[in-house]
């Protein structure tokens, strides 16, 4: 590992710690009340979901519309396990179990459907997520359409914050690793990638499974924070809400995903006071942004400390 890389990692760590301390201080002072805290946690969960989806859509080029299904898997794993084992250990066990089930489900769904491409894949994954939802809706252990309630709250904002940092680090590192370059090569030209020895099915499935497992984590956090879950929380419209964050931020830009999740979260909170007009304004804002900025708010731009440090160093050298 080079010195440059270490410096960039140190910068990111510093940002994470400063963010944590800052939010903590604001909560302590009372600037962040329960209402804003709720907004922050929702933004955090949306970031986990959307970065995973961006890995699938933006980096591996697989148009998946079934993210809410994997979120449901994680949420129900946590809901059910926490009822039997309402401890912190139980919470973390439930996250792991949620991830494990999501991986198995993602492999079962992925192997046949990832052969499809484009809109066909989107509609097949959407169908798969709906099947998950209908099955949950009809199972005894999930309490059917009524859903689960009084789930103990272990996912407080610091837990969500730490998970946002963790999942983002995993996904961004995956996207910039050898594996990430492989999936980007497949996205750009599957036949060419195959010709240089990349196994498309294997890598597409890897990205899909990783995205699905982070969605399960987000589902677990959602279940334990909101404390009630029902099958209707994980419908097509929820998958679409995640897709909106990804496209609005810029497909293939993780920085954009963060930005869009924050913008939409704040917009949602600000518009609360408008009542029924809220969704109308939201819809108009969405259409206007898409018409005037078709590549999303940040396009393909990616913020990188390594680059900032490079520029900084160059300036220093120029001066010297």
């Amino acid at each position: 590992m080079t010195k440059k890389k270490l410096q960039a990692i140190a910068c990111w760590l510093a940002v994470m710690i400063v963010g944590f301390v800052l939010i903590n201080a604001l909560v302590y002072v009372g600037v962040i009340d329960a209402f804003i805290e709720n907004m922050l946690v929702t933004i955090g969960i949306n970031i986990i979901l959307a970065t995973g989806l961006n890995l699938i859509i933006g980096f591996s080029g697989q148009f998946s519309l079934g993210h809410a299904g994997f979120m449901a898997v994680g949420a129900y794993a946590t809901g059910i396990i926490l009822q039997a084992m309402p401890t912190t250990v139980g919470f973390f066990v439930s996250i792991v179990v949620g991830i494990a089930i999501a991986i198995v489900v993602a492999i079962i769904i992925g192997i046949p459907t990832l052969r499809l491409s484009g809109d066909y894949l989107a509609i097949a994954t959407m169908g798969a997520a709906e099947i998950i939802r209908v099955v949950i809706n009809n199972m005894k252990v999930t309490n059917g359409a009524a859903g689960l309630f009084n789930i103990p709250q272990f996912a407080t904002w610091p837990v969500v914050y730490i998970f946002v940092c963790l999942t983002t680090a995993v996904i961004v590192n995956f996207a910039h690793s050898r594996a990430g370059r492989a999936i980007q090569a497949i996205r750009d030209d599957e036949i060419a990638a195959e010709a240089v020895g990349i196994n498309p099915t294997k890598w597409k499935l890897a990205a899909f499974v990783l995205g699905a497992s982070t969605a399960a984590v987000a589902g677990s956090l959602h279940a334990s924070y909101i404390q009630t879950i029902a099958p209707t929380d994980f419908g097509i419209m929820n998958s679409i809400a995640m897709l909106i964050i990804v496209v609005l931020g810029g497909v293939g830009s993780m920085t954009g995903t963060f930005f869009a999740a924050v913008v939409l979260g704040v917009l949602d909170t600000v518009l609360q006071s408008f009542g029924t007009l809220r969704m109308v304004i939201y819809a108009v804002a969405l259409i206007v942004i898409m018409v005037f900025k078709p590549t999303g708010l940040l396009g393909r731009y990616e913020f990188s400390f390594a680059r900032v440090l490079d520029r900084f160093r160059k300036k220093k050298e120029d001066a010297a």
């Binding site: 459907t113 509609i123 169908g127 009809n138 496209v247 497909v251 109308v280 969405l286 259409i287």
Partner: protein, 292 residues
């Protein structure tokens, strides 16, 4: 045997609604490769227009149907002009998100203006049942089937026999080449939206008559089901959409009839995934070979 035939009749009635909607999806997809998520909401607009003219002007069924088709055709063309035309050369996923935005706008705009509650659709056609050989079929079911079939035949004639229809097929194959031979793609795309939306509007009035109730969110689920029908039939293929619509309608009523109504949506998606895996281009779709 009787119950089977009875379910087939029920399935065909529901299926013809899906087929009318699926035709709009498939035509728009065939021509600009856009999943028009707002299509289900155009169907809702049609139903609300029918409700409005029948209650306010006490018109009969035919006038309500035709006026709803005209209004929804205009709505579809306006939406295309304002929301989709500026995105003609953008990434397709952007146009998709815009379509979702339009869908949210129509659903919530209607809820805001007219309230989110469910209304009873005025019964302009008095329902009475014909019974023959133990099978009962209502005059409304007959009306839905006949109207849907007439509209589908008309559509087929427009696409195959008229100049505009030829232009539509040309633009669907190659937009640039069509422009070279003097076709204005913008006009053709606008016409396609109008045609598809008119069919959705007609489906809206028919479903109002069939189910008696309408609300601003009524387009969501049938919209997605109809899109599934279009994909099953082979998206881009007009006869495929009709076949897919009837198939999904029959499947849904069939699953319901054997007592698994809780799983009827899941059954639709299982069939969708199976068909896509076996026939990736749908039942009647064209299989395009990938070239290096």
């Amino acid at each position: 045997m009787h119950t089977v035939l009875q379910q087939v009749i029920n399935g065909l009635s529901l299926g013809s609604i899906y087929a009318l909607l699926a035709l709009g999806y498939t035509m728009v997809y065939g021509i600009i490769k856009l999943i028009n998520f707002a299509h289900g909401d155009i169907y809702m607009l049609g139903a609300f227009w029918g409700y409005y003219v029948i209650n306010t002007y006490h018109v009969d069924f035919i006038v309500a149907l035709l006026s709803a088709m005209i209004v929804t055709a205009l709505a579809g063309m306006i939406i295309e002009y304002l929301a989709y035309r500026p995105l003609r050369n953008s990434p397709r996923i952007t146009a998709l998100i815009t379509a979702i935005g339009v869908s949210y706008f129509l659903e919530n705009g209607m809820s805001y203006l007219f309230g989110a509650n469910t209304r009873n659709f005025p019964q302009v056609v008095k329902q009475h049942n014909f019974t023959a050989l133990g099978i009962s079929i209502s005059n409304i079911q007959v009306l839905i089937l006949v109207t849907a079939l007439i509209l589908m035949i008309l559509l087929q004639l427009i696409i195959q026999k008229t100049k505009m229809g030829t232009a539509m097929r040309a633009v669907a194959v190659d937009q640039e080449a069509a422009a070279l031979v003097g076709i204005n793609p913008d006009h053709v795309i606008s016409f396609t939206f109008g045609l598809g939306s008119a069919l959705a509007g007609a489906a809206g009035v028919l479903i109002g008559l069939y189910y008696n109730s309408i609300d601003p969110l009524m387009g969501m689920t049938p919209g997605i089901k109809a899109f599934v029908a279009a994909v099953v039939g082979g998206i881009g293929s007009v006869p495929g959409a009709a076949v897919g619509g009837f198939l999904i309608g029959l499947l849904e009523t069939g699953v319901q009839a054997i007592g698994l109504s809780a799983y009827k949506d899941a059954a639709v998606y299982v069939v969708l995934i199976l068909i896509l895996i076996v026939l990736p281009a749908g039942l009647l779709g064209k299989n395009v070979k990938e070239k290096v």
